[in-house]
Amino acid sequence: VMDWVKTVCLVLWVFTFNSVADDLKEHALKLMTDTPLIDGHNDLPWQMKSLFNNQLNTVDLYKLNSTHTNIPKIKEGHISAQFWAAYVPCNTQYKDAVRQTLEQIDVIHRMCHKYPEVFKFATSSQDILDAFEQNKTASLIGVEGGHSIDSSLGTLRTMYQLGVRYLTITHSCNTPWADNWLVDTGSEPEAHGGLSDFGKQVIREMNRIGMLIDLSHVSEKVMNQVLDISEAPVIFSHSSAYSICNHKRNVPDDVLMRLVSATLTHVHFHIHKAYVLLAGSSIIGFGGDYDGVPRVPDGLEDVSKYPDLVAELLSRKWSDEEIRDALGRNLLRVFREVEEVRDHQNGTKPDDIPIPFKEVQNSCRTDFGYQYASSSTCIQSFYPVVLVLTLLNKLL
């Protein structure tokens, strides 16, 4: 009899557990139907490059099964908005990083254009909401690594024109104006003590044009210096909590506390571990880094699994409001504030002071434009000779 009772109890317990699990999943899905899930970082465009050399005509995103991401999984995962990473490796720095980045920006546009029933290209917080209304996945662009702008504010501005809405200040290499996270591991020498003066120009110009500043991959000093000077809230598009897992790609508690300030900034947690609320739910979001990493957690194998993570949070007694905040409302708030800072600075002129040449000199860089001294006497003495040479060069 006891066995029978035990079996019944076991069966009942399993049944209850399953139905509780089902309830949670159902609850998660309901929340995800009324609030957009905005994921901060997905590297599918890099997979397009490495697997297919960006030849989208040879790919069917409905059927592709060698990546974490494809269209059916996006639908199942209820992803309402995605920042696609326009990423190029660090070994393109001082070579063809700019052109390669343009190619990644182009492939994102083309992907969006190829599947208009699924993707809606977006460049604003309002665009994200509009796409959600239309049951499409808003597609945004984030450039992953300051090396992509080749120390040029003009390039930053033109990338904004092309729809780019965040720049990750570094990838895993120093730029001529900012240090990356490897500096904190000791495996790479620090170059700038955080941000150089030009690095600060970059931050201010990003505030002025309304580009989100992404601090994933930067060194701790850069995190703090950016938080010192940025007028707008910032994001970590794909980083997690250092106190749970002490990897230098993660964010230490003291920086997390700085995020919870009047300007309310935002962290997208890597889905590598479950995370603990430290500073309140107002700073949290999702940044899966799918297709950018080789190993992901059991139960979160691909982009269709977000609802399971949400269900897990529900089982840990996260409230509906907290979940909605993390899904997308926090990001939307930050994005709107960044747009407001831009609008507020509307009259300000673009920054046109170039990086000092000696900070950026390399064999692939011409010094065109730097030869002419700013003093007028210098110009007058050089003018005829240099002008003739340049023009002889320009015209035949």
Binding site: I105, F119, K120, D127, G154, Q161, C364, T366, L396
Partner: protein, 334 residues
């Protein structure tokens, strides 16, 4: 000219901004600047209603930082044209036609700017670039220049490679004008045979009047006519007179000659101000265009012919190409 404000096909003010001001627009007085041939006051005096500004980078940047430099030139032109109330940036023929200000169009001067990348070309289009010269004074890996200043990418009998044809196809598809100024004649011939859209020479003159390789021989002019394209005459003294002494009359000779060969409807003006030192007497800067028009009137050019030269021919050629919204091809936000 009040009735038909001029659309000029090529101006290098952006080059001056780079060379003398490192693109620091704040240090440059765009309204009135006697150091250069171009400023807003004189553009207005010259009755210029539209100007194609060249985003040009030196050939020595090929295979180095040409792409980034080009983005910076595009950025400086965009800033110049959006920060001054007298100017506005346009990206369509409609916009050019209807503008009541000085309408700016952005062009790229040299295929080395795209670093042999069709995506880069597409992104330039999205940034507002509406014309590209296939080469400047250097060959690209896929097209040949009229100049032999640089040793790289030289070829025989392959003046436009398959990739070069792919570039032309993509420009046709996007609606970007193919500009053959600076290309070799062989490259120009290949393009004229291959392109499905009208092309242009944004700043070249008549070889029959002055035999400089930057100018266009009559047989190419005839191919251009078949293509439905446009030759926009360059004013630079060395190109119009084959010497440093030139005047309005010799420039007008080029117009007369080209009209004789292919008709006034194939002609425009691309003076190349600020792209060179040494312009004809009477045509020293952008305020002097009316002097040329007066000369042509005295040579019995009709109002219809002059209206064509001043703007209608350009609008016709470019209308075919870029009447679409610049973003509709690349994004699905509509």
């Amino acid at each position: 000219m009040t009735k038909y404000p001029l659309i000029d096909g090529h101006n290098d003010l952006a080059l001056r901004l780079r060379m003398h001001f490192k693109n620091k627009l704040s240090n440059f007085s765009i309204h009135d600047n006697s150091n250069f041939a171009t400023d807003i006051r004189r553009l207005a005096a010259g009755h210029v209603g539209g100007q194609v500004f060249a985003a040009y980078v030196l050939c020595t940047a090929q295979d180095k930082d040409a792409v980034r430099l080009t983005l910076e030139q595009i950025d400086v032109i965009r800033r110049m044209c959006t920060e001054n109330p007298e100017m506005e940036l346009v990206t369509t023929a409609e916009g050019m036609r209807n503008s009541t200000k000085i309408a700016c169009l952005i062009s790229i001067e040299g295929g080395h700017s795209i670093d042999s990348s069709l995506p880069a070309l597409r992104m330039f289009y999205q940034l507002g670039v509406r014309s590209m010269a296939l080469t400047h004074n250097c060959n690209t890996p896929w097209a040949e220049s009229s100049a032999s200043l640089y040793p790289n990418y030289q070829r025989k009998n392959n003046s436009l490679t398959d990739f070069g044809k792919a570039v032309v196809n993509e420009m046709n598809r996007l609606g970007m004008l193919v500009d053959l100024s600076h290309s070799s004649w062989e490259t120009a011939r290949s393009v004229l045979k291959h392109s499905t859209a009208p092309v242009l020479f944004s700043h070249s003159s008549a070889y029959a009047i002055c035999n400089n390789v930057r100018n266009i021989p009559d047989d190419l002019l005839l191919l251009l006519k078949e293509n439905g394209g446009l030759i926009m005459v360059n004013f630079y003294s060395s190109f119009v007179a084959c010497s440093h002494n030139a005047n309005v009359s010799i420039v007008a000779d080029h117009f007369d000659h080209i009209k004789r060969v292919i008709g006034a409807e194939s002609i425009g003006i691309g003076a190349d101000y600020d792209g060179a030192q040494g312009f004809p007497k009477g045509l020293e800067d952008v305020s002097k265009y009316p002097a040329l028009i007066e000369e042509l009137i005295s040579r019995n050019w009709t109002e219809e012919e002059l209206a064509g030269v001043l703007r209608l021919n350009f609008l016709r050629v470019s209308f075919y190409l870029f009447f679409k919204n610049s973003y509709s091809l690349l994004s699905c936000s509509q």
